[in-house]
């Protein structure tokens, strides 16, 4: 059986120490910023939520790009398929959760996050 060198596979070829290090640094940075913002109550809760979502989104993009080296080439078709699959799941998981909890808050809590802040925070 002819045996090709696994290091020549396109999936392996995209590996890059610089990319990994960069991902690690940027992700750590984004996480640190988020942590600081939350720990110091740096903004009103709604603004905080937006900024955190933005950080999370950035982190995802950084990881897709630098860590997984996603592109649309034929060699990475399965990565693309996997990414496309996660989009509806993402929408379902986050969207339905947001929906169920917004109706829950309407019915059980006086204050909505958009009004004054997550219940306990204003104590």
């Amino acid at each position: 059986m002819s045996h090709d060198n696994p290091l020549q596979h396109p999936e392996v070829q995209v590996a890059s120490g610089r990319g990994y290090l960069l991902t690690f640094l940027i992700s750590t940075l984004l996480m640190g910023v988020s942590l600081l913002l939350v720990a110091n109550h740096a903004m009103a809760p709604f603004g905080l939520m937006l900024v955190l979502s933005l950080c999370a989104g950035l982190a995802v993009i950084v990881q897709i790009y630098f860590l997984m080296h996603m592109d649309l080439s034929e060699a990475h078709i399965w990565n693309t398929v996997a990414l496309v699959l996660t989009i509806p799941l993402f929408i379902l998981a986050i969207g339905l959760t947001a929906w169920m909890f917004s109706t829950l808050y309407e019915r059980t809590m006086v204050m909505l996050p958009t009004m004054h802040g997550m219940a306990g925070m204003v104590h």
Binding site: M1, H3, W78, L85, T86, L89, L92, A93, L96, T97, W99, M100, F101, T103, L104, E106, R107, T108, M118, A119, G120, M121, H123
Partner: protein
């Protein structure tokens, strides 16, 4: 430390102290003695027969997907037994502790288990049965069968496969350790916020639960990546998507679910970890925490998980039923679509586990409808199986019995699930034993399918069949147990009995609880019968040897290989010509052909590293549970070091030369010839009856799979 720990802590031992060992417990202390004696006996036997080397070479360091699968199945069976003992204790306690006059023993007010102990038992029962019994059994069977069904020699990542196994084993050992060191969680298998928070559960029980779940999740995720990659990348030439065996399709869908849903569990558990170890407030009642968010995250995984366990079972039924109906599967394409339909819907129904949370009516209606939609693809499957059996030549051998039992349970479980999906009904029976009976019907359906699959594929893996009479005895005893326990349980659910009662206040429930004990007695007998089955079958194995096609009417690729399957699976990678390849070959008389020449085979080398990683993972989990920080740091550092060291090892495979392959193939061939005293009915197309067409039947026994083709020494007829 960032959190207030109750009780002592020392840098050397963390929270561990002698007082944490329950040597005074009247149940655990004798149990420990028994376990210790058994352990010593096993070690002594291994040494006496000089089997350590064999164990190390052939099992502990193996990367062969079949052996790894078998070890998964052994872990699953052992944990199934442990979980059964928990179930037996739960049932006994409830039958004993009915009404204020019920006697109390061993420190309990009623019955023989204190509420605290009882809580640990039902929590351990659930965790073990779902994550450490059902899941490893299914993963094990997928591990054994999928690579052979796609015509591959091993998994895509044999080394990763072994790592997944040993991490799962570490989780199993950790949950067993909780028996004898410290205690286990009492907040149910799914965890209840905020009871699992440190102030309300100050002991190590919740930590054990959390890390056991976390390790099991890690093992399953690694395994799912591997099976997905195997199916996508390792299919034999000619195996197009629409020729994929149906069990492989089911495995594909299952592992997509696993890969996408397990992260939700990992996150939920990690956030509990932050709360308990770092003092954050994700799931606390106040201070910005949101306890329902835990329930949401958990079931975001939890519901897909129930389909993760049921889809492989569906796949097994889809393999077994055609074989014993002597017909091809009815509606292959719809079966595949239904599998993916179920997988797809499974992501959008999780709120039905907490309908009573108080979300708005639109939300509840949405999830109710989504839940009921699952019935459509499930119905498609059931009708496909029914049409497969319709006008087939049914043979009621043990695997078929298990499959039919499984179908009945699926019906009961599915219909009660539909009832639970009505919010109006759900508000009445939520948290009653009706729910327990529902999901036990479902999970037992899976257990039936597993037993069917084990009996069905046993001869493929070991080269001889399990004893029919004993197998049927196990089936009927087990079924008597199922009926005896769960029919009364449904009834009690309607009578309003809530789940997890350590004390049963209503004396009118006594009778039904006693009937359940009868069911438990039957289950216990079935455990004994199962041991008898193994003993008798292994003792008489010489009489029940089989060749390739153990059941005579099988149809998929794995039956083209010799039984037992050689470690390299296929001497020459087969070319796949049809959906039911083996049926196709039988039909075209291609069963007795052997390749005209052999080529060198490249195989992965054994390695002890996965086992070392498993041991270190256990130490890490144990250290985290007991907050022994030096142990955590050390084992984590070692894990990272070992992984790095291994990654520099370029020499991970070896070559079996072609003439060696040929020699081994000949040996298999001779053994197969010696085995065929049994009447074999490998018949064209897999559609013809048993016993017809003697000539092709005789041909079916010899030869080896292969694409390059030449004639064997001659027909045996």
């Amino acid at each position: 430390m960032l959190v207030d720990l109750q009780g002592p802590w020392s840098p050397l031992l963390g929270r561990l102290a002698l007082s944490q060992i329950p040597y005074e417990n009247p149940i655990l202390a004798p149990l420990f003695v028994v376990v210790a004696i058994m352990g010593i006996a096993i070690i002594a036997a291994l040494s006496y027969y000089g089997k350590w080397g064999y164990l190390w070479r052939e099992w502990l360091t193996t990367v062969d997907h079949k052996k790894i699968g078998i070890m998964y199945i052994i872990i699953g069976l052992v944990m199934l037994f442990r979980g059964f003992m928990d179930g037996l204790m739960i049932r006994t306690q409830q039958a004993m502790a009915v009404g204020p006059d019920a006697a109390g023993y061993m420190g309990a007010l009623h019955g023989y288990l204190t509420p605290y102990h009882f809580g640990q038992i039902y929590s351990a029962h659930g965790v073990i049965m779902i994550l450490l019994a059902a899941t490893p059994l299914l993963v094990g069977i997928m591990n054994v069968i999928v690579p052979i069904q796609v015509g591959a020699r091993d998994m895509a990542y044999p080394y990763l496969n072994a790592v997944g196994l040993w991490i799962t084993a570490a989780a199993a050992v950790l949950v067993m350790a909780s028996l004898f060191v410290g205690d286990f969680s009492h907040n149910g298998w799914f965890g209840i916020a905020p009871i699992f928070e440190l102030p309300y559960s100050p002991g190590v029980g919740v930590d054990y639960w959390m890390w056991v779940m976390q390790l099991a999740a890690l093992g399953s995720t690694l395994g799912s990546i591997n099976i997905l990659a195997t199916i996508v990348k390792m299919r034999a030439p000619g195996m197009t998507w629409l020729r994929l065996p149906i069990f492989t399709w089911a495995s594909l869908a299952t592992n997509i679910i696993a890969l996408t849903s397990f992260p939700a569990l990992t996150v939920a558990l990690a956030l509990i970890g932050f709360d308990r170890y770092l003092g954050t407030h994700f799931f606390t009642a106040g201070l910005g925490g949101n306890l329902m968010l835990y329930t949401d995250l958990f079931w975001l995984w939890g519901h897909p998980e129930v389909y993760f366990v049921i889809l492989p079972a569906f796949g097994m039924l889809s393999e077994i039923i055609p074989t014993f109906s002597e017909k091809p599967l009815f509606g292959y394409v719809t079966m595949v679509l239904a599998t993916f339909g179920i997988a797809g819907v499974s992501w959008a129904v999780w709120l039905h586990h907490f309908f009573t949370m108080g979300a708005g009516p639109d939300v509840i209606s949405f999830f109710s409808v989504a839940t009921m939609l699952v019935g459509i693809p499930t119905g498609v499957k059931v009708f496909n199986w029914a049409f497969t059996m319709y006008r087939g030549r049914l043979r009621f051998e043990t695997p078929m019995l298990w499959s039919i039992g499984s179908l009945f349970l699926l019906l009961v479980g599915g219909l009660t699930g539909m009832m639970l999906a009505f919010p109006a009904i759900n508000y009445m029976v939520h948290n009653s034993v009706f729910v327990i009976a529902h999901f036990h019907s479902m999970l037992l359906m899976i257990v039936y399918a597993i037993f069917g699959a084990v009996t069905y594929w046993w001869p493929k893996i070991f080269g001889f069949k399990l004893n029919e009479a004993w197998g049927k005895a196990v089936f009927w005893l087990f079924t008597a147990g199922t009926v005896g326990v769960f029919v009364p349980m449904y009834t009690l659910g309607f009578m309003g009995m809530t789940r997890r009662l350590d004390y049963v206040f209503n004396t009118q429930w006594q009778l039904l609880l006693d009937v359940q004990m009868l069911g438990i007695a039957f289950y216990s007998l079935s455990v004994l019968a199962f041991l008898g089955l193994l003993y008798v079958s292994i003792r008489d194995r010489a009489k029940s040897r089989v060749s390739h096609d153990a059941w005579g009417t099988t149809h998929s690729v794995e039956w083209m290989t010799p039984s037992p399957v050689p470690f390299y699976n296929f001497a020459v990678v087969p070319h796949i010509n049809a959906r039911d390849e083996w049926s196709w070959r039988k039909e075209h008389g291609f069963t007795d052909l052997r390749p005209d020449h052999y080529e060198d085979i490249h195989m992965p080398k054994n390695t002890g590293i996965p086992l070392i990683l498993g041991v270190l993972t256990f130490l890490l989990g144990f250290g985290l549970t007991w907050r022994i920080w030096w142990l955590c740091a050390l084992s984590l550092a070692l894990i990272i070091a070992v992984v790095i060291i291994r990654s520099f090892d370029a020499d991970t495979g070896y070559i079996i030369p072609a003439d060696e392959v040929e020699r081994m193939e000949r040996a298999h061939h001779d053994r197969a010839q010696a085995a065929v005293e049994l009447p074999q009915a490998g018949v064209p197309g897999g559609v013809t009856a048993y016993g017809q067409g003697n000539k092709p039947a005789a041909k079916g026994e010899v030869g080896a799979p292969g694409s390059g083709i030449s004639s064997p020494e001659g027909s045996r007829a």
